[in-house]
């Protein structure tokens, strides 16, 4: 057992039910400070649900969450964000009708004039441009609507939004799924830069094992509502993970045949 004081976040016996569906039965999970955790699992295993519990979107049905050494009861996404938890959702949570910089500051827009909430567009625009340049994202302009961008560009913007939110725990739900090799490499580069700094902890879901091994310190596998595999990246291999997943598919196929 790792030293508990080193954990930034820890889940104990977490379960989640949606009516009769129970994607999460008994999840125990921990992420150390500055650690990058890769989360694997079949489609429908409950990975996204787990992320949404960690970022305050779903309340857990059962179990405890500890953040920074204290038990927390997340009331909302905004509450989680105040603690320093930020999520790149699988569906990206971008608004096609809004331009890039409004999306990058959605729900945390800098404002002037207090309660009137007048948007500080100049600042958003400049900051958005700076963050995208820094990350190496290539888009025509921060003024264009999201609707005009490619899937990969949208994903990059969603990642940039969270990376530059000063989060301490970054949750990335399949952040490279819609990307080509070059864009994917850019995201991995950003994660590696965060890892080098060691100030941010990351949980990343991805299906590309090569990518996972590139950026992760530790790897967890979610199956049947529980974490069934937990190894440091150097103690396992692409081969071992592939074997497990092949076994998963066989297991799933047998269950279907029964």
């Amino acid at each position: 057992m790792a030293n508990k004081d080193n954990d930034l976040v820890r889940l104990e016996n977490v379960a989640k039910r949606f009516g009769p569906v129970q994607p999460l039965k008994n999840v125990n999970l921990r992420v150390g400070r500055g650690e990058v955790l890769g989360l694997l699992g079949n489609n429908g295993a409950g990975k996204s649900t787990l992320m949404k519990i960690l970022c305050g979107y779903h309340p857990a049905s059962e179990g405890k969450m500890f953040f920074d050494g204290e038990e927390v009861n997340l009331r909302s996404v905004t509450h989680a964000r105040q603690l320093g938890i930020d999520c790149v959702y699988q569906d990206l949570a971008l608004v096609s009708e809004l331009n890039v910089y409004h999306n990058m500051f959605l729900q945390r827009e800098p404002v002037r004039g207090g309660f009137l909430g007048i948007l500080d567009n100049k600042r958003m625009k400049a900051d958005a441009q700076r963050h995208l340049d820094d990350m190496g994202v290539n888009i025509p302009s921060v003024d264009v609507e999201i609707a005009k961008l490619s899937g990969g560009q949208r994903q990059a913007i969603a990642v940039a939004r969270s990376v530059y939110s000063d989060a301490r725990l970054l949750l990335l739900d399949e952040p490279t799924a819609a990307m080509g090799a070059k864009e994917g490499a850019m995201i991995l580069d950003v994660i590696n830069r965060l890892r080098a700094k060691g100030e941010v902890s990351v949980i990343i879901i991805a299906h590309n094992y090569a990518q996972i091994f590139d950026v992760c310190d530790r790897i967890n596998l979610l199956r049947d509502g529980e974490i069934v595999f937990d190894k440091r990246a150097e103690d396992t291999s692409v081969q071992e993970l592939t074997d497990i997943v092949v076994h998963e598919y066989r297991h799933a196929a047998e269950t279907l045949n029964e």
Binding site: V95, L106, Q107, L119
Partner: protein, 319 residues
């Protein structure tokens, strides 16, 4: 130069309806020769004023992905609340505020039922439409009454045609500013454009919807008051579904989509004015009201077709 104007016309949603309005004014000026005159513009604003105020609020509700069918009935109810408050001894200005608060309450109910009980707003506001209409008829006994105020006050409150259109323009400008330059406006667009995404981003989507329903209802009440001071009578049968549909038509031909996420208040103002121009122009040229309805129907379908297809072009980045 021409292509630049063309580009602006394609990019700005308000532009096409503005151009249509200008062409109509030219046409009616040539055919009737009295269209552009002090008196006739006064007449025209009577057609457009209250509708534009109703449309401004409706656009906010449409952008956040909902629909309010009850505004025509709130338009009739609110002046009665003012009247009864005044009868009970409340000074006029406070009676107006009470009338508007009553309207806001209807919006609150619309919003709460829609968001908390998860009814489609079409159904919620269809219900409140009948409910409020019945309520107004009951409290009024079905008879019109006269608003009590000085002539000067009535003039400022819409009795004078230029004050009436002035109110409509000021309200449209303020709301357009709210829509494009404040968090409230940004979140309204976000909620209508991507409800799940907005929730994930932490936007209080229910609160945004409820607030827009309340704003819309309050403006409907205010529009009713403007018209009662203009006409000099508070009529339980005034407004109703006719003015509600005119307001929605104004919003739609002005460039607001019923699917949410897209809309413009200024466009709706132009939309209401264009409908006013058509109505007024036809009256002047002796065309019947039936023909007006046919043209209005055609205009809605044509502008919607253009809007939807322009939108596809915009999304593909061609424009």
């Amino acid at each position: 130069m021409l292509s630049r104007i063309g580009g602006i016309a394609l990019r700005r949603r308000e532009a096409s309806i503005f151009v249509a309005g200008c062409l109509l004014v030219l046409y009616f000026q040539f055919t009737t020769s009295v269209f552009v005159s002090y008196d006739n513009i006064g007449t025209l604003t009577q057609y457009a004023g209250a509708t534009a105020v109703l449309a401004a609020g409706e656009v906010m509700v449409l952008i956040c992905g909902e629909l309010d069918l009850s505004i025509g009935m709130v338009y009739a109810l609110s002046p009665f609340l003012m009247y009864f408050a005044q009868q009970a001894g409340v000074p006029l200005v406070f009676a107006i505020i009470l009338g508007l608060m009553g309207a806001a309450l209807v919006g609150l109910i619309n919003g709460l039922i829609t968001t908390l009980l998860k009814l489609p707003s079409f159904v919620t506001t269809l219900g409140t439409l009948f409910l409020i209409n019945g309520f107004t008829l009951v409290i009024s006994g079905g008879f019109p009454v006269q608003p009590e105020s000085s002539q000067a006050f009535a003039n400022v409150m819409g009795g004078n045609a230029y004050f009436l259109i002035g109110w409509a323009i000021v309200i449209a400008l303020i709301l357009q500013y709210v829509l494009t330059q404040t968090r409230w406006g940004l979140h309204t667009i976000a909620v209508g454009g991507n409800l799940d995404g907005s929730t994930e981003a932490g936007i209080k989507v229910k609160s945004i919807k409820i607030r827009n329903f309340m704003l819309c209802s309050t403006l409907a009440g205010f529009a009713g008051m403007l018209d009662c001071f203009r006409i000099g009578s508070i009529d339980p049968l005034a407004g109703g579904n006719e003015i509600m549909f005119m307001a929605i038509a104004s919003a739609v031909i002005g460039g607001t989509l019923l699917t949410g996420g897209v809309g413009t208040i200024i466009g709706a103002l132009f939309g209401a004015i264009v409908l006013g121009i058509l109505k007024d122009g036809f009256t002047l040229s002796g065309v019947s009201a039936y023909t007006f309805d046919m043209i209005l129907g055609g205009a809605i379908i044509v502008t919607m077709t253009i809007n939807v297809h322009l939108n596809r072009l915009r999304e593909r980045g061609r424009v």
